[in-house]
Symmetry: C2
Subunit: 332 residues, 2 copies
């Protein structure tokens, strides 16, 4: 890995960010922002691809997501926070890239296939949804990103982007843009409090902005081992949401390993483990909540952060668009 | 029809415009430009949807098409001539509209289906090609067009545009853009000189810029009635390319009707009819060729016409984009 990479990450503004985002990506971003050039794209146009009827909700969440970023320690002086819908260059790149990929290829994209099933679209897939790997290729290349942090399930998106980059080189007869690499996260996905996949829409995750009461209630209702009826019984830690959270957030992982052994053997009650987790989450989220509240007291400054970040990101994207237009023999 | 409509027409810059374009649309545009607001969009991005590998050709043809416009009498003081690829607003509208139409609906579009077959794409349809009715909806609404001159085969495109307009009103909860109407041409399609469909790619049409020799050779090689071997024989005028051209361009249509009767009865040779047609086409195309050559002597002025027209068109498109962004709850 070169000493400095250009990283693109982002989120769809469809709800408050939660502990799953923190464990899976936000904590990494806070660390990576000091080592590399990092842009976080708030993908509000991508959010519309399956939320066209809830556009106002999407926009309402944009500012909330920025507050979440600032709350966890994203520093807008080193990380560029940009708003997708305010970057016409990305729409232009998307429209040009649509010519470089076939419908069949998009339909074969495993991520798209899975999400089409998840959303129950069947044949009624919005065209924008089918096209979203192309839009993502525009986002990634439009930031000249060399490294894209993703989960396993998003690797096909990176491949799709690189296919477009190669196809562009093919029609131009020379390299135009650089390919990017996936930065795979080795953090296991944090389950929702009910043991299902954590999801904004299921409301089964602990928001970064959760109040102390909400944190307490969420921990108390966490799915553990339904067969572990008495403290004296042996319990399972696999699929146990409390232990998943302890493994993700407990600063003392040696203690967690001991607790797991104890729980398996029997003699450790859910209430005890939950109390420990609640303390850890309250301690983790209290400063995040405080920074969030502080930032929320100056919304003009929050908006200015997005405006400034978007303006910086547009300079790069306009330069990329110049290169791509030239590959299509269009006037620069 | 209100006294003044806003008309959007256009062409893909994939080759020189020919007599088929003149009979089918250019002559109408010259007439309509004095009665209505008219924008002609040079659809170079749309041309890329099935010519991504021939992008340089597309750009080379842009100026040629403008010269053809000026040659036939399009007056840039009353008609706005705009270049699609220089209007980022249209890309933004396209990306937003993609969320308002399903993949299945695009695949059912009869015009798209036919053209997919014509081009032999099968499953390898470029995504941009499938999306082109959406891009056309962006072009039409982006000009606030109320009237779109089309052939029968393009009516589904108008329906697709109006569906998007209605879907936009649905998500906004109020009307956002006006629907448009098709202005159907009652001019029969002019066949190519070989009797097949006239096509830039088949090279079977007489270009507006054809030289006198090219016109002569084209008329001489025109498909007539293969069974009409001797002048004395009865001949067929149906499917006879020479008569199709006479019906389209002969200023004396009563004489054409008499010639048809004579030809059917027998006693009228192909050479005679072809001489008449050649005279008519030479007379029609000579002033067009002269105006074209005059315009081509000042290419800076041609480019300025496109720049100025595009700038005017962008003012309208930006205003439309504002309205559409508002419907999606995006910042104006």
């Amino acid at each position: 890995m070169p000493s400095t990479e250009t990283i693109l990450t982002g989120d769809r503004p469809t709800g408050p960010l939660h502990l799953g985002h923190y464990a899976g990506s936000l904590a990494n971003r806070v660390r990576l922002q000091h080592e590399h050039h990092q842009t976080i794209l708030i993908a509000d146009l991508q959010a519309l691809t399956d939320n066209a009827g809830r556009a106002a909700d999407v926009q309402r969440h944009v500012r909330e997501v920025v507050l979440d970023y600032l709350a966890v320690g994203i520093d807008p002086r080193v990380t560029t926070i940009a708003l997708q819908s305010a970057m016409p260059e990305l729409a232009e790149l998307t429209v040009l890239y649509l010519n470089l990929v076939t419908v069949a290829r998009l339909e074969r994209n495993p991520t798209v296939k899975t999400e089409i099933e998840l959303r129950g679209f069947a044949r009624d897939i919005p065209a924008g949804f089918l096209a979203y790997p192309v839009s993502q290729a525009a986002d990634i290349t439009g930031a000249r990103a060399t490294l894209v942090p993703v989960g396993d399930d998003q690797v096909p998106m990176i491949e799709q982007t690189n296919e477009i980059v190669r196809r562009l080189a093919h029609i131009a007869g020379r390299p135009v843009l650089a390919e990017c690499r996936a930065l795979l996260s080795n953090t296991p996905r944090l389950p929702g409090i009910d043991g299902r996949k954590a999801s904004k829409s299921l409301g089964n995750a602990i928001a970064l902005s959760a109040s102390p009461d909400e944190i307490r209630d969420a921990v108390r209702s966490m799915f553990t081992d339904p067969a572990h009826l008495r403290a004296a019984d042996p319990g399972r830690v696999e699929g146990n949401v409390v232990f998943a959270h302890l493994r993700a957030f407990d600063p003392d992982q040696a203690a967690v390993a001991e607790l797991e052994t104890h729980y398996r053997r029997g003699g450790l009650g859910d209430a005890t483990v939950k109390r420990r987790l609640e303390d850890i989450l309250q301690a983790l989220l209290a400063p995040i909540r405080e920074r969030r509240e502080a930032a929320a007291r100056n919304l003009a400054s929050v908006d200015e952060i997005v405006r400034g970040g978007t303006a910086r990101a547009r300079v790069v994207a306009a330069d990329v668009l110049d290169d791509v237009r030239q590959a299509f023999a269009l006037e620069r």
